[in-house]
Symmetry: C2
Subunit: 314 residues, 2 copies
């Protein structure tokens, strides 16, 4: 396979508190900023920007104030006119787009690394757009090699840039780090340490890349989301009438086969997986997804070949 | 030890949603009510009242709207005058006191069984007031004998009735059931099933008691809360500067000895337990306690002897 030359990385942003009750980023971003100041400017070659994305939601320890900020970064929302009725998060998305973008432009930061938590047993999951984003795919490969105390996995969203809705899509090579399980409003030291390992490894990789060293390609596995499953719901109240089955709870990334138990109704009945095709469930029983009508996503697993890359240092 | 005669139990209330984001009770109370209706009135000898305590907080999936409802049941708050500025939860507490109390009166229901969740690894914990409340202590003994798939423990609060602040203190023999770990806003089938086992066992016990059968006494172990520990905090921001140490996280009810690790600062430093006296930590890293300045409570373990009891059926 050919070797691909790519421009050096000029700027990286580390963002936390995009969801105000996902506490690892809320605590890690200020800590990384403090450590950076302590070490002085010489410590990192690539300038870092630290951002608390939704400070009002962080203060109230809520996911968001009026609207999920991490669904506000489509081109349409970023260019919508601001009026007195515009939700806080739409205004904040436009501010962040000015600071870190503009999205899709040459001026946008190269990497936004956005720190999230999930109540699901997802280990360390890298979420990224497009399966030809070599920088993101190489970063995943590096994390997978370096971090062995927790499963490291890659989820790819195949959405055109203009429709990509999350904060990291403002940058050229956006990466969302999801670490779980962690309850909303709680900071666990084990989850904090995994996230810190992840961010440190990403920053180390960017410096290796910028040094001009050839970074070898290879094969990686990615999960591609196919569909979402909602909870069975009471037709009168609209509320869930079942929970995720105990045999499926915490089994994110397993392979569901037809007939496997997926839900247990509150009256004790087991409901089975009825899809023809075996698929991998993820974000199982994520707290924030009840209101979105998602009990879990279902994904294909696919092997991708990625080329060797090298920074254009000359 | 003597045998104590006590009046029969005339009414039992099962309450959920006292905290609107503790989902087991939110789903279990309507399910129990539905099952009760299905079986018809003959199914249970003791009339049951089912209550969703804080319906507004349940609707918003928040712990509370203006004030923690489960701190509003002191005699002072229950008798405070209602004005336009009175928080919703104080009004609701007075409504619930009319429905299930009045607290401290002969008319109060015998048992309020209030269903709670915690993000801490507390298994099934019974919380009750006073170590001479024989009904509550016998119910705990029964649960401990019947439920073997999860640890069952008793926490006793030694607070005079008028100062007792939680919903179950409105009844003559109040019991709070805490099951965890479960994130806020999430319903886990395993936790749901443990809570249902607990409630079913309590209701079975009340019918055995009311039948007039002698219920043998014995010895039980109880945890008595001595003090609370807050997170180390940044003196400038007031925010936690450390998380619970990974070696302590999820170890509720262990015995902490001087020198044991309790916190890990975000910069990586371990802080140790410095109390002279070994104590048992509980509610470790409960999400709702960050705002209350509590990282965990510390308790003594004590063995209590309880007498045989028998209902005054004649």
């Amino acid at each position: 396979m050919e070797r691909i030359r790519l421009p050096v990385l000029r700027r990286v942003a580390i963002c936390g508190g995009t969801h105000g009750n996902e506490m690892t980023g809320v605590y890690l971003v200020p800590e990384l900023e403090r450590q950076q100041k302590e070490k002085g400017d010489a410590a990192r070659i690539i300038p870092l920007t630290f951002v608390v994305s939704n400070p009002r939601a962080v203060k109230e320890c809520k996911r968001y104030i009026e609207k999920d900020l991490n669904r506000c970064f489509t081109s349409a929302t970023l260019s919508s006119p601001i009026t007195d009725e515009t939700p806080y998060e739409v205004q904040r998305a436009q501010e962040l787009n000015s600071l870190l973008g503009p999205k899709g432009s040459e001026d946008a930061v190269e990497i936004i690394c956005d720190l999230h938590n999930t109540t699901a047993n997802m280990g360390l999951t890298i979420i990224s757009y497009s399966h030809k984003n070599w920088i993101c795919l190489h970063i995943f490969k590096h994390l997978k090699d370096k971090i062995t105390n927790v499963p490291v996995r890659l989820v790819l969203l195949n959405i055109p840039l203009s429709e990509a809705y999350s904060l990291e899509s403002v940058s050229k090579y956006g990466i969302s780090l999801e670490v779980g399980p962690q309850p909303q409003g709680v900071v666990r030291a084990d989850i904090f340490n995994i996230m810190k390992q992840g961010v440190d490894a990403i920053l180390d990789w960017t410096e290796t890349f910028n040094s001009g060293k050839v970074i070898e390609g290879g094969e990686i596995e990615a999960y591609l989301i196919q569909k979402s499953m909602d909870y069975p719901r009471n037709p009168k109240t609209g509320k869930p009438s079942a929970a995720v089955h105990p045999q499926l709870q915490d089994q994110d990334y397993c392979l569901l086969q037809r007939g496997d138990p997926v839900f247990l109704t509150f009256s004790g009945e087991t409901l089975s997986y009825e899809e023809e095709e075996p698929l991998h469930p993820l974000f199982i029983n994520e707290a924030a997804y009840y209101e979105k009508g998602i009990a879990f996503h279902l994904a294909h697993k696919k092997t991708l070949s990625i080329p060797s890359i090298q920074a254009e240092t000359d």
